[in-house]
């Protein structure tokens, strides 16, 4: 049990938070004058535990990636807002349906075998064959992977797909050595290419890793690491405060004020691609009237909501995208509460309060109970009666997908598949979208998304996303409430920590720790 080293509090210079304006970007610990000690080990508290026995198509891939074990062919650089080389040095579209990736030379797996086009193809094909395929890399999107020569892997798609390099940045497409696939389940131990080698696991508790002495990406600054699986947010907050953990990911809003005043702890915040949203059932009255939807939007006080329920750990939303996203409209503004306008719009819509409307607040997000109450109060002011029902998401989903609901509070990660919102915009808002909770259907919108999916120029594609976002906003399809922030806590002796809003990359070769 490590004790708090209060005597060194004077050295606890807060790490700098740098939010760049280019893409979603995390904060980075800055220069503190401390010197890295390469004998140090680090402890990271992660918010999820692996459940699928390290299957790469599952969310376990996130844990292997953040731990510095699993690496992919490409990597999305949040700061640059683009896909950059990783295990592949370059790539090109050789035909409308084919992409060639050149495999980096001189890379060895942690078991000493060479990274080759054959091993890469075998690894990617094993993900393609999964019973529950990864969203980013499934047979519906990728029809085949094969090695065309010693250092080239060809990825074939059923239809032209300009986003293949983005898909190969998904952690689910991480590359493991052939020996990882010889048993009944995937075994990442000693079979990654990353800076850290997993050496032992305590089931549902932690993963221990040692430095990879032969890492292709340069000298690894830490001797090793322990990634703990701590699902309770308050516990993660306590551990970084006591010094039991050096980095705690995803700190809950309720613990922020305590941590922000704690010595030797820095709280890092970054815009995340998650927006708490009040989904409205556009498919049935009264929500099938755009004036009614706009009336509800005018009734809400989003700034008060962000300040009260989220205690400042979220920012009022200006539409379906966070302002930091490169496809977000720079003109988007947070709607201001205007009760007179709301009442006029209600009158225009011909609304009469013949029945109370229901908000489903899913219990998995504890703050939604309070959010629902604030909204209920706001809508009461314009004469719209609302009842609140707390439900588990799984029990609400069948009715919501079937269109048997009024409103539901939920949130979505727009970049859950790849670092591009095409999956979200397609699934959630196109007429045939597989997750169209709003039951919104608009030909103009569908045409925009179809065009975007075919557009290979990033800038052009982002412009189309921007247009689609404006259309959703103009139609007030949903009420986008607050942009949630990714919040990590880091002790001051951690050096070179770059916050990733999606928690894909936490431990890298550069991550270091000062001696105690």
């Amino acid at each position: 049990m490590r004790k708090l080293s209060r005597s060194t509090a004077a050295l606890g210079v807060a790490a700098l938070l740098s939010l760049t304006g280019c893409g979603l970007s995390g904060g980075q610990t800055g220069a503190t004058g401390k010197v890295a000690d390469t004998n140090q080990r680090i402890v990271v508290d992660n918010f999820r535990a692996p459940v699928a026995n390290w299957a790469l198509e599952s969310d376990a891939a996130y844990i292997l990636s953040l731990s510095g074990c699993l690496e992919t062919l490409t990597k999305y650089d949040s700061a640059q807002g683009k896909v950059v080389p990783f295990l592949a040095t370059e790539w090109k579209q050789v035909s409308p349906l084919e992409w060639d990736f050149t495999i980096r030379e001189g890379v060895k797996f942690q078991d000493g075998t060479d990274l080759t086009a054959e091993t890469v193809a075998a690894s990617l094909n094993s993900v393609l064959k999964a019973k529950v395929p990864a969203r980013a890399f499934s047979p519906g999107i990728v029809s085949g992977v094969q090695a065309t020569d010693a250092k080239t892997v060809r990825v074939t798609t059923p239809v032209e797909n300009p986003l293949v390099p983005f898909r190969l940045a998904s952690v689910n497409t991480g590359i493991l050595a052939p020996a990882a696939y010889t048993g009944a389940t995937v075994n990442p131990f000693g079979h990654c290419t990353g800076p850290f080698t997993p050496v032992s696991e305590k089931a549902k508790q932690s993963l221990t890793l040692d430095r990879n002495e032969n890492y292709w990406g340069g000298k690894v600054q830490l001797a090793g690491a322990e990634v703990r699986f701590i699902t309770n947010g308050a516990t993660r907050a306590a551990q970084v405060q006591t010094g039991e953990a050096d980095i705690s990911l995803s700190i809950p809003a309720s613990a922020l004020s305590t941590l922000e005043s704690a010595p030797e702890v820095s709280v890092l915040k970054a815009d995340s691609p998650r927006t708490a949203t009040l989904y409205m059932n556009n498919g049935r009255a009264p929500f099938n009237n755009v004036d009614f939807r706009k009336a509800l939007r005018s009734a809400l006080d989003l700034e008060a909501l962000a300040a009260s329920v989220y205690e400042g750990a979220a920012l009022p939303a200006a539409g379906p995208f966070a302002p930091s996203e490169p496809w977000a409209s720079s003109e988007a503004k947070t709607p201001k509460q205007n009760l007179d306008e709301a009442k006029k719009l209600l009158a225009d819509a011909g609304y009469t309060a013949d029945r109370p409307l229901e908000i489903i607040a899913i219990v998995e997000r504890t703050e939604f109970a309070d959010v629902a109450t604030v909204i209920q109060d706001n809508l009461k002011d314009i004469g719209v009666p609302v009842t609140i029902q707390a439900k588990e998401y799984a029990s609400a989903e069948p009715d919501v997908l079937a269109g048997n609901y009024d409103m539901i509070l939920s949130q979505r990660n727009r970049l859950i598949d790849i670092a591009d919102p095409i999956g979200f915009l397609t699934a959630d808002y196109t007429c045939k979208g597989t997750y169209n909770l709003s039951h919104f259907c608009n030909e103009e919108y569908d045409a925009l998304i179809t065009e975007a999916a075919r557009t290979s120029t990033t800038e052009e594609r982002y412009k189309l996303y921007g247009k689609a976002g404006r259309l959703l906003n103009d139609q007030a399809v949903n009420l986008w409430l607050v942009n949630e922030q990714a919040t990590d806590a880091v002790r001051s002796n951690v050096l070179s920590y770059v916050q990733d809003p999606l928690s894909r990359y936490v431990l890298t070769a550069q991550t270091a720790k000062a001696g105690s």
Binding site: M1, R135, A203, Q241, P398, G423, T434
Partner: protein, 313 residues
């Protein structure tokens, strides 16, 4: 005695089967599609295409009629196979046994602590019945009932981990890891145990054979030690068994707050994620153990109490 053992064995088998069937039904009687729950637990996503759902359901045998699924599980169980987890595809037994070991350690330490604390408190309270000491012990221990684990656990972390830095705030790594969770779990049993010991002792003190013992020349201390304390322990043995059985699967809150991978957390996750084989396997083990413990407590009760012994025979 043979009749008693036969009845107990039949009870155990019936309890195991009934509880496993109830757990088997949970994913089907609660809203939401079990297969989507399984998929969501693997990929934490909301978008699941129908083809994936159907393929997974088929491969896991979830499209078969419910009785067929249950009887298949039952058949495997009687051949010693608890099946594979729907989520991790690893043998259920490999997940249940480590979790059970952890929970058993935690519960034993918690209830052992409760016994060590409540025994002297209950004895003193009974011997000083009606005094200020008795009232103080009774009031303080009774107040423990109103301290739920979700309130007490963060409080203990705040004091002993954050403020004093004496103990780890969470985890299951060193011997010190057990202190705070065991303390959290022991507080309410202390209340019930103290009350039980006190009541048992008072009943024993008022029994007819106590004046007779004193008349035989036994000192007060000898009388208490030989004739009162053993009788005071009788209700404690039953209570201990009941709490032990209850905490085997019921320590979820403490296990979540202190990041302990025990049975409570395992069963909770299994039910939430529709991991039916894991839930069934876990419940079977917990129920069997709970019935065995309460049976053992009945034997103990019989040994300590001649009246009960007579009734059982």
């Amino acid at each position: 005695m043979i009749t008693f053992l036969a009845k107990r064995t039949a009870t155990l088998v019936a309890a195991v089967l009934l509880s496993s069937f109830a757990v088997f039904l949970i994913p089907y009687v609660t809203p939401g599609d079990p297969v989507r729950k399984i998929i969501r637990s693997r990929v934490a996503g909301d978008v699941v295409d129908e083809a994936t759902v159907q393929a997974l359901a088929e491969s896991l045998g979830l499209n078969d009629p419910l009785p067929v699924q249950y009887l298949r599980w039952l058949g495997d169980f009687f051949t010693g196979d608890m099946g594979l987890s729907h989520i991790s595809r690893t043998p259920v037994i490999d997940q249940v046994l480590p979790a059970l070991g952890i929970t058993l350690s935690l519960v034993l330490v918690a209830l052992g602590t409760a016994v060590l604390v409540s025994l002297p408190l209950g004895i003193v309270a009974a011997l000083k019945q009606g005094s200020k000491t008795d009232k103080l012990i009774t009031t303080v221990t009774q107040s423990f009932i109103a301290m739920p684990e979700y309130w007490l656990a963060p409080l203990l972390v705040l004091v002993f981990a954050l403020k004093l830095s004496w103990l780890p705030s969470a985890g299951w790594n060193t011997a010190s890891s057990i202190v705070l969770p065991a303390a959290t779990l022991s507080l309410r049993p202390i209340s019930f145990f103290t009350s039980a010991v006190r009541s048992g002792m008072i009943d024993a003190l008022e029994a007819e054979h106590i004046p007779a013992a004193r008349a035989r020349g036994l000192s007060h201390v000898q009388t208490v030690l030989r004739h009162v304390v053993p009788n005071g322990l009788v209700p404690l043995s039953t209570l201990f068994a009941v709490w032990f059985a209850g905490l085997l699967g019921g320590s979820v809150i403490v296990e979540v707050i202190f990041a302990i991978p025990g049975m409570g957390r395992l069963l909770y996750d299994a039910v939430v994620n529709s991991d039916i084989p894991l839930a069934q396997g876990g419940v079977v083990v917990v129920v069997a153990l709970a019935v065995a413990i309460t049976t053992l407590a009945d034997f103990l009760h019989r040994m300590l109490s001649p009246k009960v012994s007579g009734a059982l025979a």
